[in-house]
């Protein structure tokens, strides 16, 4: 008896392959590298320190734009073209579909980060690079990508219009990214609470190289919450 392949993993590989056969994904990847490259090199030589802080500081904002651009297609396109009907009449649950699509978006974002290792190499050859913040930064980047991908999968599940899916996800992600930057006018205790809900705040903390379980719990909860909502939408589908 051969082992049963999980439907979520089958969908993950199909969606990942679909990214590589679509021009949109290459455009997103190219633009991401152009923007992150400009942001890295424009400050790198000015500050004249071997660190990637400038790159990581802007990553939540970059991801808030680029991750929704990758996830907007996932469910919305299937709803528009009607393939959602062939998908969900195969032995596939809402969980399989949402999880497979989420993993595909996360994998693609991880692949998109690979070329940025060139910045690490540049910094390391030009000076003494502290490995802590770099490792922390990439770990944080993956957690951030997971949270935003889950948001994007949910946004894509609630509409058949990719543009709507993009803007809903972008709005949520940019709020999560910048939420902690608007708190200067508020009293201390409120700031503490709102900071906890801000992805930017938790990402900053991880990318300093300090691994705090609260940050990991935060990103795990964010991811789980939006994935769970996406599964719920996928399982309670109405007419395509």
């Amino acid at each position: 008896m051969k082992s049963r392949k999980s439907a979520a993993l089958v969908i993950h590989s199909r969606e990942l392959a679909a990214y590589f056969s679509s021009p949109v994904a290459y455009i997103v990847m190219g633009l991401f590298l152009v923007f992150s490259g400009i942001l890295f090199f424009s400050t790198f030589f000015l500050i004249n320190r071997a660190e990637l802080r400038g790159f990581f500081a802007l990553l939540p904002i970059l991801f808030a734009f680029f991750v929704p651009a990758l996830t907007m297609r996932l469910f919305a396109e299937e709803k528009r073209s009607g393939t959602i009907e062939t998908l969900f009449t195969l032995p596939v649950s809402g969980y399989d579909a949402a999880m497979g699509k989420f993993l595909a978006a996360l994998s693609f974002t991880a692949i998109m980060l690979v070329p940025t290792l060139a910045y690490v190499l540049t910094a390391a050859t030009l000076g003494e690079l502290d490995p802590g913040p770099v490792v922390g930064g990439y770990a944080g980047a993956l957690l951030l990508a997971a949270g935003y991908s889950a948001v994007g999968v949910y946004a894509s599940a609630i509409t058949k219009n990719q543009i709507v899916a993009f803007f809903v996800a972008f709005a949520v992600c940019i709020l999560l990214s910048l939420g902690d930057k608007f708190l200067v006018l508020l009293p201390g205790p409120v700031v503490g609470i709102l900071e906890f809900f801000s992805a930017g705040y938790h990402f900053d903390s991880i990318s300093r190289g300090i691994v705090d379980s609260r940050d990991i719990v935060y990103f795990a909860s964010l991811t789980a919450l939006f994935l769970w909502m996406a599964v719920d939408v996928a399982d309670n589908r109405e007419a395509a």
Partner: protein, 310 residues
């Protein structure tokens, strides 16, 4: 095999399916018939587990769908209307993907593709295929895991006549070993393929019986086409109108020099013997006599017009 019990489906406040009841036994080939918007597609989407009914129960092989959707879906092969498939994949990759999801041996892909006549297009993008080929890929998608139940929503729509007869032959062939439900607008298709017809109108079943029985019950009124020589058309129709069972008699186009009429028969009895004796007794010559039963189309029209209930 398929039991639909008091199923109702609302889209918002619109009642697409209204207290629907039917059951389909193993091995039957059933045609689901009805005008546009009658609820055929909605019914199929609920039976295949794509949509949840607002109320009521659907059991496949004794199992309630919502209790174990995955194992129920494994028993069903479904081809949705207009075969929505991933256009960006080549046929072979698509069928391999379906095999993976269905958890069947990828080696079955080639065999199923051959049965569905796809061998030549295996490396083409699905979006580049013609309507007929797309439909066949959809059929392969539905057949790949060798399901016990096959549900096809308008399987021949948009195909050319050759493709239609190929697909029909394929469905008939498959129907020998499986339970098949097809929905269609084309009534001759039902007469050709199906053992049984369920006619739905406004979300309700208005007729449910074996194809032959339905035709016998509702299609008893027949037409008789007649050509005779040695008499005038007027003379012929006057004599025919006097016969019992003849409801009307109209002149028809015929060969030159022959009297041609079409009779509407208003009785269940066969009037051909009395027509023949009439012509013989008058010393006329019978050139042609053809009896035509009313088709299922007429039955369908009378049952679904204005949502009449049978």
């Amino acid at each position: 095999m398929i039991e639909v019990e008091k199923v109702t489906k609302f889209y918002g406040s619109f009642r697409a399916v209204d207290d629907l009841n039917f059951s389909i036994k193993k091995g039957e080939i059933v045609g689901l018939l009805g005008p546009n918007g009658a609820g055929k597609s909605t019914t199929m989407r609920m039976v295949t587990g794509f949509l949840n009914p607002s109320s009521g129960n659907i059991r496949i092989d004794g199992t309630e769908i919502r209790e174990d959707p995955k194992s129920v879906k494994r028993k069903i092969g479904y081809l949705p209307e207009s075969a929505p498939l991933y256009g960006d994949m080549i046929v072979e990759d698509y069928l391999r993907y379906v095999a993976d999801v269905q958890d069947v041996d990828p080696g079955k892909v080639a065999g199923t593709a051959t049965v569905c006549g796809l061998s030549e297009v295996m490396h083409k993008n699905i979006s580049e295929l013609s309507r007929g080929y797309r439909q066949r890929v959809g059929l392969a998608h539905a057949l790949l895991h060798d399901p016990e139940i096959l549900i096809l929503d308008e399987p021949t729509s948009g195909l050319d006549p050759n493709q239609i007869s190929e697909v029909r032959a394929l469905i008939k062939e498959i129907g020998r070993t499986k339970t098949v439900v097809i929905s269609t607008h084309i009534l001759s298709e039902v007469e050709m393929i199906c053992d049984r017809v369920i006619i739905v109108s406004r979300g309700q079943v208005v007729a449910d019986s074996p194809t032959a029985e339905l035709r016998a019950r509702y299609g008893h009124r027949a037409q008789l086409r007649l050509q005779a020589g040695g008499c005038g058309t007027g003379e012929l129709s006057r004599a025919l109108r006097a016969l019992p069972g003849v409801a009307a008699c109209a002149d028809a186009e015929g060969e030159g020099g022959l009297a041609s009429v079409v009779l509407s028969v208003g009785t269940d009895e066969d009037i051909r013997p009395s027509v023949f004796s009439l012509i013989k007794d008058n010393g006329w010559i019978l050139y042609e006599m053809a009896l035509q039963h009313n088709s299922l189309e007429d039955v369908f029209r009378s049952l679904t017009a204005g949502g009449n209930e049978a």
